[in-house]
Symmetry: D2
């Protein structure tokens, strides 16, 4: 039984807590920490069966019984806490993005390597049944050589402006998953990025210095072309589709719905909207990524989302940001 500590009791920290309690065999949560301990948090932790709640993550790192930590704190602390955890000999599961600065990511990677601990980054969509189905087909050679990889990723609604201001921008906060998906589905690194972005959903987002609508084209090292289209708000909900087109065919996924029910009436033939947002849509993948991490630790296997997988999407996001600012294609080598 792997004993884990969770650092950060915000939304994603609680998602992992719940999925570990319910679905992850072979792991149990010994402690959770957060900078703000409230009665609500204490009550919630008790209901989850988590024995300890700390206001300092160092208490988790100092507990010799805890084998591994999940770093779910605010983004700017991901890197230093990961390093500290590695030094304490804990295996590390770190939420995305590891950091916005490639240099600091390299420091993290050096630290975990030196410590000889496992390191996995929270790109949960790789564990989603739909994206895995594409990947499996591509890996099996069914579509031949990949030519074009398309990802459509639209949120059901824009986050609050206060969040937008500290999010690091849409490319780091939202598109980062799509950058990872292009790499995952194509099996190739990205060479050059061209981004078009604009503000069409909410002018306040523009005032906060960000964009809400974008199309990003990516030249891949294997010769294929990737293309992502993003929006912060789709009236019909969370739109999560992808397609890989290759020499022998194509494979695409459509959205998951709550049921397969279709109503036929005077106004048309009406199917359900997609599942609302990432909690509804990706719950299974959150459980599976942790199960996989637990398996890597317990059986000493390489993690399925490794350090480089943490680094590359950040480089792509930096290139996309530069491309948007300078209205020109930008090579990853320019930002590495």
């Amino acid at each position: 039984m792997l004993k884990v500590g969770i650092i950060g009791a915000g939304r994603i920290g609680r998602v992992h807590s719940e999925s570990i309690s319910k679905y992850v065999k072979g792991a149990e949560i010994k402690a959770i920490s957060d900078v703000r301990i409230t009665d609500e948090l204490t009550t919630w932790a008790k209901s989850m069966g988590i024995p300890h709640v700390y206001d300092d993550y160092k208490q988790i790192l100092q507990d010799p019984e805890i084998d591994a930590v999940l770093v779910c704190s605010s983004t700017n602390t991901h890197a230093p806490i990961s390093i500290e955890a590695a030094l304490a000999g804990k295996h590390v599961f770190c939420e995305k993005p590891v950091d916005a600065d490639p240099a600091r990511i390299h420091e993290v990677l050096a630290a975990v390597e030196k410590a000889g601990v496992k390191f996995q980054v929270g790109f949960n969509r790789r564990f989603d049944h739909n994206f895995k189905a594409i990947k499996d087909r591509v890996a099996a050679g069914d579509i031949g050589e990949p030519h074009v990889i398309r990802v459509t990723s639209r949120d059901p609604d824009a986050p609050p402006i206060e969040y937008v201001k500290v999010s690091g921008g849409m490319f780091f906060d939202m598109t980062i998953h799509d950058f990872d998906m292009i790499r995952y589905l194509s099996g190739s690194e990205v060479e050059e990025v061209f981004a078009v972005g604009t503000v069409l959903v909410n002018p306040e987002i523009g005032k906060a210095g960000d964009i809400d609508t974008a199309v990003i084209t990516l030249k891949l090292k294997n010769g294929a072309i990737g293309v992502i289209d993003n929006s912060r708000k789709a009236a019909y909900g969370y739109d999560q589709r992808a397609e890989v087109f290759g020499s022998k065919g194509a494979i695409h996924i459509t959205n998951d719905t709550g049921s397969t029910a279709v109503f036929s009436g005077e106004n048309g033939v009406i199917a359900e909207k997609p599942k609302y947002f990432f909690l509804e849509r990706y719950m299974q993948s959150f459980a599976d990524e942790i199960s996989c991490f637990v398996d890597s630790v317990v059986n000493d296997k390489p993690t399925l989302v490794n350090g480089n997988d943490g680094l590359q999407p950040v480089l792509i996001a930096l290139a996309a940001k530069k491309s948007l600012e300078e209205n020109r294609p930008v090579k990853l080598s320019e930002v590495a």
Copy 2:
């Protein structure tokens, strides 16, 4: 160039006229007849390029240049006119049903056989792209031995009560196509029929002695089971689906729509309703059945919908009617 005469200028007579003018190569309409000649009819015939309009179909039968006739007059005249046409040496395309009385159908079949003319019955759906796609798969052996054949057939709206009163009943007017389809898709004759029918759409239909909703189960000679469900009114339009399930798989068809467009919005993911009714849905099949008839005549081939194909659905309809009246399964041998 095969010269044809059309007997009856009602809806189906005009459908055939239009499709011959536009789509049927190798045939031209020399004359059309109707018991009621109006200015509107004359103008319409001119616009179709039909040289002659007669108020007596005998004028068509007497024209030695006319090779073949389409019997599109009222149902009770199908049999006598077909016999008369055969005696006049004309090839006969006869609308469905040939007659409600099997004895009279046998007379027609005897007459056309004696005259050595071609005889085809207007079960146009056999020529429809969707139903043909099922048939081709079944014939190719892809589903193995057929086990269950299902036909769903619902009209967008009930016909006027005045029509209901003279239609011969839903089984003869509407389900007759589905009875034919069960035979066509299964490749088997029907042995026994059990019909459940009721009035749920419009009580006036019940007062007129008919039903508007039915489920009919058919035992087939090859051991398979057929099942048809009918309604005179589907709020979402003309519902024309079928499935053949067998030992190696199943094949089903869904409705045709005007476009493949799908709208995703706050109220769901909305596709188009089916094409409105039989003119919109089956126009191509009307043209193809006549092309096929022309080919049979010109190249002396057997027709694809022959005399027995005209007889059997009428026997099934009679058995279904008797089953409904007596609330018991009825063998075709009881009504033959």
Copy 3:
């Protein structure tokens, strides 16, 4: 925390054990019993965290800490054990069918009523997301008055002949779920049944006195018509579809798949087969039916699948069997 005991550690007993351990909040399993205790069972029970394993269900009934039991033993013991459990003051969740003899079901219902305990029958499909989506739409009045209710239910493969011999026949073993579904979706009792059944999948099934393919037509008290088609073996897997057609429209469900992935290649546009069988397809519903049962017990609410819901499908199955034997429609009043 409701303490439950599980009587019978066969397939369905273990399904409930797993789903309670993983997904059902507010309940814990204190003991499981089976007539055959093996090392494998003991090990499995330990892995599930079940403290006690008994070879006599009476030990469960005698434990005053146990509030409720799940009767998952062989079908012929459902009724006597349910009665015994009620007498012992335990709330009862009983697997389907309660019994093949209506008289014994009435005894069970009398016993639970007298004891004042909750009684729920294991028609799990009512808790399935797809079937619930239909029911909710129907209940909301979206399709108006129901006219035709169709259920397609095909297994991926026939059970072993040894099982067929003791199963009570396809109507009691398999179609019983579909009989329940017709009642659930239509909101109406069944009045009369006509069944056509045959042996097309495996002649051994016929030798064992059963059928493997059937179409059953049901006249409902509210005037609607139900129709079920069954097969013991669909080459493409577990086919679980339904449609309710009514005055204002129709709602249908299609099969669930492992992913939404669609491959387009030289051989066509290929989607996944349905989820393999009932464990894969209905796992969520097994958990939800128990959660619902727990809620009924804890909060003293009526159960959502009550005693009459256990009785009626058995009456329908008896009528269907008689109909098949006598080749005539059979009223439920004839078998009640």
Copy 4:
């Protein structure tokens, strides 16, 4: 009855001839010309009922009975023949592209304006039922303000290398339709283009100086973003899809198929591939664009695809070509 002459009896000239003969009311073909008269052509023209076959298009222009011409000759002659036809007082339907040089297109537009004749360009997809369904929804405001317009356009196979060499390049030969579609669906002009293109289908195409795979991003004047992905060869056939995503929802179209039949078997649930290529897929639109042209001429209405609609896609193609060569976004003003 509008009398038309067809200049050029290659593939597209014959497509128009056939569709006019069969489907276009109110027009008849008086003559067809081609630089190469063969026996095959003469026979074919007779079968189409075309009275005159000329080896010099000037004979068509000199015929005072001919009201309008269809310019279906080789691309480099589109402009001069259109000008000559306008001077001869003929209404002009000109195949796409009008010319690869914007200056010559301007000359054509000046000539037709001066002559006061109608001018329509052959962007037939605007008349396709699927693309029209998107356009109608967008025009009705159902999706609100357009944000992202996506067009996927893949051919079933690359053209012969000899054709590639004289085609003017993929952007002028194939993508030109997609450029038009972005304008049509968005209702906006294009401001700037960024093209990524590569050779993945056939290296011979690269040796001939062209590309076979491309993703093109377009900034539109109304603030929306367009994105096109192209391939010269999709293993599953002609892939013609589009989506407009906007503030209130999205509308997308999928491919047309020969039938709606779906086969379920051991290998999956298999639908048909798209209709093979443009003749199968777009026949209805070829007829409708000419019917519309005839209507414009006869009833003196503006044509639905006017001179500017002929010019803009050429400017976009020039910008895309320059973008590809220089690996940077190119404004249309740079190539106008």
